[in-house]
């Protein structure tokens, strides 16, 4: 047989890591050809489910008359808790505090009581409204204040972080102050609402298409509710129309009800709630009240911080434990507190069960930290940016005992670049010149005032639930040299699939078009973690690379033996493989390896090294590394109405060595605007009966195109490879940029402060709606005596 090796023309690397490849689905998105679950061609006999919901927020369900529901046109079945063959329990924390259907105790308005299954979705929706519930109503606990007043029941164990003697630190501080801040929640408003399609198979098998960030958990929950083994349930998701954390646990309910109905009726069942129901049923970002005491000196140096972060968690624990933990993990942001105590208060309330949302408590923690800085700045009369710089984590602690690099959870900050990022941005955006110009212009402008602020971000990367930091992948190489890639991560728009495909293409030296990205399914990669905590490409990229390396090692061993060269003399180059002095096409090598009976499929696995966390002790190394960034925002406010506009934003963000700068830029811009919405116009309002009044886009206002900054300069920090050996030295980018938007809050605050000659701290709470801005203007003016 002739030697298959030959001289090949060098090819340029395509689809390789670090290039700005477009999203793998972009061409399908724009043509309406990308298939979401509601677009899947209806299986024969498809039925539609609709949830029947509670009319009260708190109390007892005395009776539930479903006769009219059953009798409604098109209705096939009505399901209640009594119809559940397994457990009426979808508590993701296994605290048994989250039933599928409430039976007696009602814990929030619009809590699911039953499901009706009908021939059409419309028939199901019409029928669901016919239920007659009789309730014994109790007073609902709605927010942090009323929860505390009612005794402060918690949904889960609180956390305390403590380092140094905070009481002594406060006592010894030259100056002290106390304050409180309200930090609002946020609706995810993923454009595709929750949805699940369940198709029963033979025996106990169930195939569930679920719009979920966590297929493995959906699998476990469906199995638990149906009373079958996990091996009977397959959960699949090709893409979500947005997730943002809202489909980490909140998709369980919809998948379980669809599967329950499919099992009962032995027919495919789809459940897609109306937008208003989705917003009324599912959890949101936690709102907090942060009470703080700060010790500091006249130079603006913080000596001690004692803070309590109390969160409205809703009616069950869900992820409130780790969310409130992460708030405390970010109560320092980039700043060193010589003595610190942080305590969480995860409060039970009769509202939706608040859940994961991009940043996962971190943003709220960090908003608190920036308030501490602002308080110190106004108390000392120093410029807030100067106070920020003076309190940054320092270098290392070599030889000096505890240095300025130890976090409240006793992890040493080893990769601190906050100072450098701030300095670069301050220069590149002409911060000082603009600040001076704004002050000058404000003096001449009685109504419209401008403000500017620069705030940094340091965000810890890793799940604090350490066991979650693992991932699996499955890679098949076919004999024509094409590759099928599967991993445990889910695609919600963030570009995970294309990033991991780039890793695989680069590993084999093949073009991106030769890698087929396939839907995430529990049948291919088991026991996966949620695609969350910004970890998607860190974990799955490494797992996929691991699988590639396994296959490559087999190919190397094969080629070394076949052509009698040393393994070290074999290299995968773009489009070809060098074997000794000769080269062979990837496809030809693969073909030869198949003929040589070499396995061309492999699984890959990755577990993040270095991390550990002892929650009881409040000590450990929970984060593998930190992602950094900084943003400078300039705003204009109208002091007659409180209306405002973001005029300019400059961002410098640390993606390490970016896997895909275009995708990363999209995450930064999108995260920023989403964060800006959270802190400005997105306001959740519950009435005194515990009913959410902002349950549709008509009343809940996320940013629109004209809200984005007038001038928006986004740069990725260059020459900044991750100091840890992450996938190609990149850094996670999903969540950190959201917190860059804190700069907008502080720019608004700066503009408000101008009406009091920058002497009175505006203490602007969030969301800083026009109403809140106007109230702050009026208060600052009054306190300044102007």
């Amino acid at each position: 047989m002739a030697d298959a090796r030959k001289r090949l023309e060098p090819q340029s690397a395509t689809g390789t890591v670090g290039s700005a490849r477009i999203h793998d689905s972009a061409a399908r998105h724009v043509a309406g050809e990308a298939v979401y679950i509601d677009d899947i061609a209806a299986p024969e006999g498809l039925l539609h489910a609709c949830l029947g919901l509670s009319d009260i927020a708190h109390g007892r369900l005395v009776s539930l008359d479903l006769d009219a529901v059953r009798a409604a046109p098109g209705v096939v079945a009505v399901l209640t808790a009594a119809d559940i063959p397994g457990a009426n329990d979808i508590s993701s924390t296994h605290r048994h505090d989250e039933p599928v259907f409430a039976t007696q105790t009602i814990l929030h308005h619009r809590q699911p009581l039953f499901a009706v299954v009908a021939m059409t979705r419309e028939a199901a929706r019409r029928a669901a409204a016919l239920a007659k519930g009789v309730y014994d109503e109790a007073a609902p606990v709605i927010d942090v204040a009323s929860a505390r007043a009612a005794g402060g029941a918690l949904v889960t164990d609180p956390l305390k972080l403590e380092r140094g003697d905070v009481a002594a630190g406060l006592a010894a501080s030259p100056r002290r102050l106390t304050g409180s801040m309200t930090i609002g929640g946020q609706e995810h408003f993923y454009l595709e609402s929750q949805i699940a399609l369940a198709i029963p198979g033979e025996e106990e098998d169930m195939h569930v298409f679920s719009s979920t960030q966590h297929p493995s958990e959906v699998q476990h929950m469906v199995a638990q509710v149906l009373g079958v083994g996990s091996h009977a349930v397959t959960v699949e998701v090709r893409r979500m129309g947005g997730g943002f954390g809202g489909k980490e646990t909140q998709s369980n309910l919809f998948a379980c009800v669809a599967a329950l109905a499919a099992r009962k009726l032995k027919r495919p069942v789809k459940l897609r709630p109306d937008r208003d129901d989705d917003m009324a049923i599912t959890g949101k970002r936690h709102d907090f009240i942060c009470d703080y005491e700060i010790g500091f000196d006249d130079e603006g140096r913080i000596h001690a911080v004692d803070a309590v972060y109390a969160a409205r968690c809703g009616w069950n624990a869900d992820l409130s434990g780790p969310v409130t933990d992460r708030a405390l993990f970010h109560m320092d942001n980039c700043y060193f507190y010589p003595a610190v105590r942080g305590r969480s208060e995860p409060l039970l309330t009769n509202t939706v069960s608040n859940t994961a949302f991009r940043g996962f408590g971190g943003p709220q923690g960090m908003v608190g930290a920036e308030r501490f800085i602002e308080e110190v700045a106004f108390a000392t009369g120093l410029d807030p940016l100067e106070v920020r710089k003076r309190n940054l984590y320092g270098g290392n602690s070599a030889g000096e005992g505890i240095g300025r690099d130890l976090t409240p959870y006793h992890q040493t900050v080893e990769d601190n670049i906050a100072g450098e990022v701030i300095a670069r941005l301050e220069r590149s955006c002409d911060y000082r010149e603009r600040q001076a110009a704004i002050r000058e212009a404000n003096a001449e402008s009685p109504i419209v005032k401008r403000g500017i602020a620069l705030t940094p971000v340091k965000f810890g990367i890793s799940f604090t639930a350490t066991w979650y930091n693992q991932a699996g992948a499955l890679v098949h190489v076919y004999t024509d040299g094409t590759v099928m890639l599967n991993h445990g991560g889910t695609e919600m728009g963030q570009g995970l699939y294309v990033k991991v495909a780039q890793v695989v293409a680069q590993a084999f030296g093949i073009g991106l078009e030769q890698v087929k990205i396939t839907a995430t399914t529990t049948g291919k990669v088991p026991n996966t973690s949620a695609t969350a905590a910004s970890s998607g490409s860190d974990l799955n990229g490494m797992a996929a690379l691991d699988a590639c390396e396994t296959i490559k090692a087999r190919l190397v061993a094969f080629a070394a033996a076949k052509w009698n060269v040393l393994p070290a003399d074999i290299a995968f180059l773009p489009g070809r493989v060098r074997v000794g002095a000769e080269e062979i096409g990837f496809r030809e090598l693969v073909g030869a390896a198949y003929m040589g009976r070499v396995q061309l499929s492999a699984t890959g696995f990755y577990a993040t090294p270095k991390i550990h966390w002892d929650r009881k002790a409040g000590r450990g190394h929970p984060f593998y590394y930190f992602a950094y960034g900084a943003a400078a925002a300039e705003v204009a406010i109208d002091t007659l109405t409180g209306e405002y506009r973001v005029e300019r934003v400059d961002i410098l963000h640390d993606c390490g060595q970016s896997l895909n700068p275009a995708i990363d830029k999209g995450q930064i811009e999108g995260g920023f605007v989403q964060g800006m919405g959270w802190l400005t116009t997105e306001e959740l309002v519950w009435d005194e009966k515990g009913r959410l009044r902002t349950h549709a886009p008509s009343t809940y206002k996320i940013p629109v195109a004209s809200d984005r900054p007038r001038i928006f300069n986004v740069a990725l920090l260059e020459d900044a490879p991750n100091r840890e050996p992450t996938i190609h030295r990149s850094k996670a980018v999903g969540e950190p940029p959201l917190m860059l938007a804190i700069s907008v809050l502080h720019a608004l605050s700066d503009a408000v402060a101008s009406v009091g000659g920058h002497k009175v701290c505006p203490r602007l709470d969030t969301p800083a709606t026009p109403e809140r801005v106007l109230a702050a203007v009026e208060r600052v003016r009054a306190e300044a005596g102007l």
Partner: protein, 490 residues
Amino acid sequence: MRDTLRFVLGDELVEIASCDPTLTVLDWLRLDRRMTGSKEGCAEGDCGACTVVIGRLDHGALRYEAINACIRFLPTLDGCHLLTVEHLKGADGALHPVQQAMVDCHGSQCGFCTPGIVMSLFALWLNEDAPSVSRIEDALAGNLCRCTGYEPIVAAAQQMYRLGSRDGFATRRISIQAQLQALTDAETLSLGGPEGKFIAPASIETLADLVIAHPRATLVAGATDVGLWVTKGMRRLDPVIFLGRVQALRLTEDRGDHLRIGAMATHADVRPALAALSPQLDELMRRFGGEQVRNAGTIGGNIANGSPIGDLPPVLIALGAKLVLRRGNEERRISLESFFIDYRKQDRREGEFVDAVIVPKPEPDALLHVSKISKRFDEDISAVCGAFLLRLGEDGRIAEARVAYGGMAGIPKRAAVAEAALIGRMWDEAAVDAAIAALPADFTPLSDMRASAGYRLSVAGNLLRRFLIETTQPCVETRIAGLLAEASHG
């Protein structure tokens, strides 16, 4: 009488003999036609994921506009050309320049809002060349994207014009126009479905007769509110009388000292005429809903609906507008403010419909002010909308004051006590202070999810201050966003 609905879907003439009156265009596309490119994001006309483009004959000319398919009833498309995201690719499968620009600029992430964004940009592409960034933002105001932050989408809207200037739709325009003309007739469309009847007369006389004959009918114009009665309220409407085929109702006429606006004129239709009265009115119209709502929602609907927070009534009241109501051949003219009796209760008698609004043009020396305050600047409903008209006497004193607000009471309402406080005063700070002091006597606003009572009252007063500053100190910057800010920034 015609009993078959006819419209053109892409290249295909669609004829439907039985159809429920409130079947939405989106449900028809997705469920009946299995065209799943258009998405349902909210089912209330706010997110724009369902955006499609319709072509219709507007006094003989073919006009394309983006609308929300989720709240548009299918039978209202009679005589229209319907284009969806599925129609944009070329025959060779090549992406349309709008689509290609979105791909090139990384304009999609999760992709769910994308078909709607593409269709809004496609409507812009069809109608305008080289739009400004602020015009692009207006065209996108009715499209929510939760992933991108819009930056790459706005970039795509600029890029698309660089990828070619013509497409298959431009070349087919004449044939489509002829096709739609062939579908235009004077017959009343009367369509039956299992859930009810849809009646769409072609003349105002027939309409007048039908409204009398069907006193319980729901009159539908743009359906931007009635659509929600169906998608959210799950109401069955039977029969539905659709006003959209009556061309006479769509006319906006400049009659020298006043405008006569037909009830079926859309917000987009009337914007130029109102803009000519005042740049602030232009800005108010720009901020009305999203582009899709401005293309569908009508002046008559906005009034007849009786919303306490409708954006137009306050300014129309300030201008002294009159409403023309018609019953059979009888016409009744009343002042607009007297039309609003109480929360969601209007002075519309059985058998009557809103025919037109008569809007007197303000005298050249009159001072007019319009401000809309909302949580989000664009595509939001007002917390407070204020519209003020002052006429100063020769002595410089206020001779006439019309101070109207939306959002301050159960109906759009004039502030009679504040007006009285203004009359006879010089137009100065003391006058504003007096009017502000009077406002609590005029209004006891509610607190709701849009704003608190306190904020409403504060802002209502501060808008009078803004009015004073804008009329007496034009150099002072008072507007931070929108057309008025752009104008003052040069």
